[in-house]
Amino acid sequence: MSLKRCSFWLGLVLSMGIFAIAPADAQERSAVRQGFQLATNSNKRILVFPPSVRVGAQSTGGMFEPNAEWTERAKMNIQGALKILQAKLGNQVIVAPDADGDQARNLHEHMSLFAAISQAVIEYQFFVGNRLPTKKRDNKAEIFDWSMGQSVANLPGADSADYALFIYNKDAYGSTGRKMLQMVAMLGGVGVTSGEHVGYAGLIDLKTGDLLWLNADGAMGGDVREVDGADKRVAQLLEDFPGSQIGKAAQQ
């Protein structure tokens, strides 16, 4: 088979798939639990856990390959950015105490659960073309009902706060092979993404485990390996945090 013919078939395959990739703009990114409101200076205490940060490369086939150096750098940058912005959340902020041993493992598992819930919300409630029938029904009734369960009440620092802020980031930067794939795919008239930049921020009720507010996006901005990029990322994650001025300040 000639290269020209290969390119034709590739173009055809990719063109057929053009409708399979939904435009990211068509998707909601944020939601609030029905009836939940948080006013500025309402005497509510917000427990802030250290953000979960995973950074690596994306192989040609799309697999995540962790990079310890990038992860450490991003973790430092994101924590630095959060330290500045958490003062603007509009309510009293409590930094979660250090956890180790079983407590650290338990917190890590809850963070993973938060990520799985956020992913399910994006995939099955935010993504218009892929909503589960029961979630479609919820959307019509303006119901946003997701929960991490009451075990959140046992997390370190939970007894001294009302709500907890969970932040999860996973960044996979496209490898050379992935970028090549993206370029070849472009010839076929369709966008194959190179890199994955996932960010979720959620406010959890520490008594019930209910998800009160979520900002979740599978295509975040900001290179978290750089200080400026991490600042942009954290501002984006917290831009419409209930009761805060962060979004308004960013727009000015």
Partner: protein
């Protein structure tokens, strides 16, 4: 690698990626009380609450239902897997082969078949079989087993399954959910679904 084989490899990956990205057909609602045949088999269940059937299938003989998304609660029906077939579709027969259900597979060996399939298909390292007990399924001698594993999303999930071998084919229902909150919240709904299952 020649330029031709490189382009062919990229094309294959592109096709794979697109098929993964495709939401294909819409997910389907199964309403409480309405009996329905599942997994293209004469396997019928009557749900005790509304469930969503995911549009994608992980195998020719499999069908998945969920309440909140496969990450959070996953009921998979395996509707009569014949000898020589794997539980789920193989990604690559050459590079990523999956264990097969065979004519010699005993009921007591089914939990191990599930474990080996999960390890290979989900790429997990940690899988523990918690219990295996005889328990009727679809009105025949069957096995009921429980397990726990940690996926590559670093979330520990618990699972419970019921299986029976009838007419040389494997019928099975599995339930998988994070051990935090979701497993306990939905296990009774899964058991009610499994209790309602019949072969017609």
């Amino acid at each position: 690698m020649t330029a031709k084989t490189r382009i062919m490899a990229v094309a294959m990956i592109a096709t794979g990626l697109l098929s993964l990205a495709s939401p294909s057909l819409a997910h389907k609602l199964h309403e409480k009380g309405a009996a329905v045949a599942v997994a293209n088999a004469p396997l019928w269940v009557t749900p005790s609450r509304d469930w969503n059937q995911l549009s994608g299938r992980i195998g020719k003989y499999a069908e998945t239902w969920t309440l909140d998304g496969g990450q959070l609660n996953d009921v998979t029906f395996y509707g009569g897997i014949p000898a020589g077939e794997s539980l789920v579709r193989e990604r690559s027969k050459k590079h990523d082969p999956l264990p097969k259900f065979t004519a010699e597979t005993l009921l007591i060996e089914v939990p191990e078949l599930v474990e080996r399939t999960y390890r290979a298909f989900k790429g997990i390292g940690t899988f523990s079989l918690i219990s295996t007990d005889p328990a009727p399924f679809l009105g025949k001698d069957g096995v009921r087993f429980t397990y726990e594993y940690t996926d590559d999303d670093e979330l520990t999930r618990k699972g419970e399954a019921r299986a029976a071998i009838i007419g040389g084919k494997l019928y099975m229902m599995t339930f998988d959910a994070p051990r935090l909150n979701y497993f306990g919240k939905t296990i009774a709904d899964y058991r009610a679904l499994a209790d309602s299952a019949t072969l017609r």
